[in-house]
């Protein structure tokens, strides 16, 4: 596969809510009230319970892995958690190629909700699997 600047990655999409968050809490021992309880999330200024930043992080990795293949490598990734993932949102992880330097591919990556608001923007460097 020839990769060029501007290429868009296949997306990774999930309907989000307690069904996702509780499963993630169960494996990461992340039973924090703001992620489990609407009153705690509302008290924290987010209108209700909201999802873990770490799960957004995982969704971005899922998207990258699917694109680079099982033998590919994620070299670096960074994101900022700008907006909460609240219940009922459809969250999509997206990516676009920003540079190709030999076998190292730079990308802008982000998660966004169903209206296109970015929740967790960032960047990554990967190598495609051979």
């Amino acid at each position: 596969m020839t990769v060029k600047v501007g290429d868009e990655l296949p997306t990774f999409t999930r309907e989000t809510g307690f069904a996702n968050w509780n499963r993630y809490a169960a494996v990461n021992d992340e039973f924090v009230p703001i992620h489990m309880d609407d009153a705690a999330g509302e008290a924290a200024g987010n209108g209700g319970a909201f999802g873990m930043g770490n799960l957004q992080w995982a969704y971005l990795h899922n998207m990258l892995r699917s694109w680079i293949g099982e033998n590919g490598e994620i070299l670096t990734i960074e994101v900022q958690f700008r907006s909460p993932n609240v219940k009922g949102q459809t969250v999509t992880a997206k990516g676009v190629v920003t540079a190709v330097d030999g076998d190292v591919i730079s990308l802008d990556v982000w998660t966004e909700q169903q209206e296109g608001t970015k929740l967790a923007p960032g960047s990554a460097k990967v190598k495609m699997g051979k």
Partner: protein, 176 residues
């Protein structure tokens, strides 16, 4: 801007190595459950669930997603490198990072995961033992949509049983 929430004691703590933990050996079941959770409701890729399929990849064995946390529920050893330990009952206290250092926290009410920067090395796989070291990163603050926000960072370095770098992560915690 309101008075700073960054005390002299907090500034002095930057660079301090706070803890070192050793994971239990990662099991295939640990990897499988993690992958099932982060891919739910779809099926997780075979490289995380099927040892025979994983053996045919460049990894040669079942490997974990890069975002896998082998310290999530328990560690084989936890070595606190400071006199003061954070009581487990206050694990999620917004002052937790400073209480663990034996200094007063900023006394803020809420905390959020502000972001992650990560450099990856070798993959984690079944049977691996991970040694994690935490140290105190920089503090800064600025006005945000929820008022004055304090940004603090933790540097986390993981190596495996062969002393190979697994990942180096900078986690940013936002408190307000």
């Amino acid at each position: 801007m309101a008075d700073s929430n960054i005390s002299e004691a907090m500034k002095a703590a930057v660079g301090t190595e706070t803890s070192r933990s050793t994971s239990y050996p990662i099991s295939e079941s640990d990897i499988r459950k993690w992958a099932m959770a982060v891919y739910w409701p779809d099926k997780a890729p075979d490289v995380f669930t099927d040892p025979a399929a994983a053996a045919k990849t460049v990894h040669g064995r079942l490997v974990a997603p890069e975002d896998f946390n082998p310290f999530a529920w328990a560690s084989a050893t936890d070595e606190l490198l400071l006199k003061s330990a954070l009581p487990e009952s206050r694990e999620h206290d917004p002052d937790g990072p400073e209480l663990a250092l034996g200094i007063a926290g900023p006394g803020l009410t809420y905390q959020l995961n502000g972001g992650i920067v990560c450099e990856y090395g070798v993959r984690m796989g079944a049977g691996d033992v991970i040694i994690g070291t935490n140290s105190v990163g920089e503090y800064n603050e600025r006005e945000g949509r929820l008022g004055q926000m304090l940004f603090s960072r933790t540097i986390v370095t993981w190596v495996n049983q062969s002393d190979e770098l697994v990942k180096r992560t900078t986690n940013t915690l936002i408190r307000y």
